[in-house]
Symmetry: C2
Subunit: 244 residues, 2 copies
């Protein structure tokens, strides 16, 4: 028996997220189909995370156990042959038999991509949020710095989350301008349901002047979803790195 660790990229636009759903096409289902086509066995795949419908991944990790003797490089190529265009395996490697992509994940980094100009960009449809108002990066970063550290993020958790423990440790929260694009990075030991998208929506409120950067600690203290900003659209969000 082997335990294979796959690293994937996917464009989330055509999928109802990673996790298998009854009523929609998902990344996990397409991955299961490809593994079955290559190995002849329908495997139980362990993914590192759920992702929302329409969210992309520059890096996503999943593992599955197999009796197949296909070498890792050939397995990668064979899976890519069977996967739809929008899902790509860029690495396949042997993992210890007890390795589990979700349980052993020590942290994740998300990236939120804005195209910040008074005109749209024709090359990033569904891949970035078009945002026409000027973004004040230093103001946004004064607010984002308040997210870093160990806090109760109940105010930034979507209603459908249902997590009992809403304390998380954020290691990175910052915005960087690259020409007409702005990237926001968020790294943490774990994220609540919609947490990144609500942090982004709250930082958009900061940019608009609707709240001040130093209002963030107060919003966290209230543990009330209604105090934070809106949930930013899924199509600007990328799972960017997975840490083990």
């Amino acid at each position: 028996m082997r335990n294979l660790l796959l690293s994937l990229k996917f464009k989330g636009t055509p999928f109802c997220g990673y996790q298998v759903q009854k009523n929609g096409v998902t990344v996990a289902e397409k991955l299961q189909n490809a593994i079955e086509a290559v190995t002849g066995v329908r495997s139980d795949i362990k993914g590192c995370s759920r992702t929302d419908s329409g969210v992309h991944a520059n890096m996503y990790c999943a593992n599955f156990k197999t009796e197949s003797k296909i070498a890792c490089g050939k397995m990668r190529d064979a899976l890519n042959f069977h996967l739809p265009y929008e899902i790509v395996v860029y690495d396949c490697r042997e993992a210890p038999l007890d390795f589990h992509a979700r349980y052993h994940c020590s942290g994740k980094e998300y990236m939120y991509l804005f195209h910040n100009a008074p005109w749209r960009d024709p090359f990033v449809r569904n891949l970035a949020l078009e945002f026409g108002y000027n973004m004040d990066i230093s103001r946004i970063n004064r607010a984002a710095a308040h997210f870093v550290g160990t806090h109760d993020f109940a105010s930034l958790c979507g209603a459908a989350g249902g997590a009992k423990d809403t304390v998380r440790t954020v290691m990175r929260a910052e915005a960087i301008r690259e020409g007409e694009f702005v990237k926001m990075f968020f790294a943490a030991d774990g994220f609540l349901f919609n947490m990144v998208r609500i942090m982004v929506g709250t930082l958009i409120w900061v940019n608009q002047g609707r709240i001040e950067p130093d209002d963030i600690p107060g919003i966290l203290d209230k543990k009330d979803r209604n105090r934070a900003g809106p949930t930013a659209p899924a199509h600007g969000l990328y799972l960017n790195r997975v840490f083990y």
Copy 2:
């Protein structure tokens, strides 16, 4: 009367090139429609260049004369409202009445984008050539350097070109690696029909070892299209800069 200079970006995938065609949708036709919708007059637009079907532009310049009094910023926004998603005006400015986007163009730069990895990239469909074999950038650049200077490029001109004078001056021809991507840049005072795509195809031959870097001068000397490499696909090519 005003003469307005527009700077555009467009994703070429849905268009039969820039120039108006009888049998296909083109960038120029969409631009004419948008200008007519905004100004009420069907204007004669002067574009800086023809482009092949499927070729993209990070920068494309066109000018048109109008009696409209709409300010430049408003004109840009109004045109973007009427243009299809894949065509964007990012700048509109006043030009001298005798300015002509093609005749006054002193040079252009094209960029050819490769995704160079043994797996595809899910985010650049139709926007880069997927190339799975390793690209030897220093070998490619030893060949590309022979294109720089004033040469007769008859060997690198597509059959449908029909140019009488096939001498052009190339200022830049080089490849640069950026992670899994390779960009080739070509700047010249002008380009023959398919010239960039044939230079790219010839550099792919160099990479494959089918020809040597120092074979390029001999290929130019023959003035025979059959000596050069194939015409690279359109979907990796971008008009990158236009010089005045």
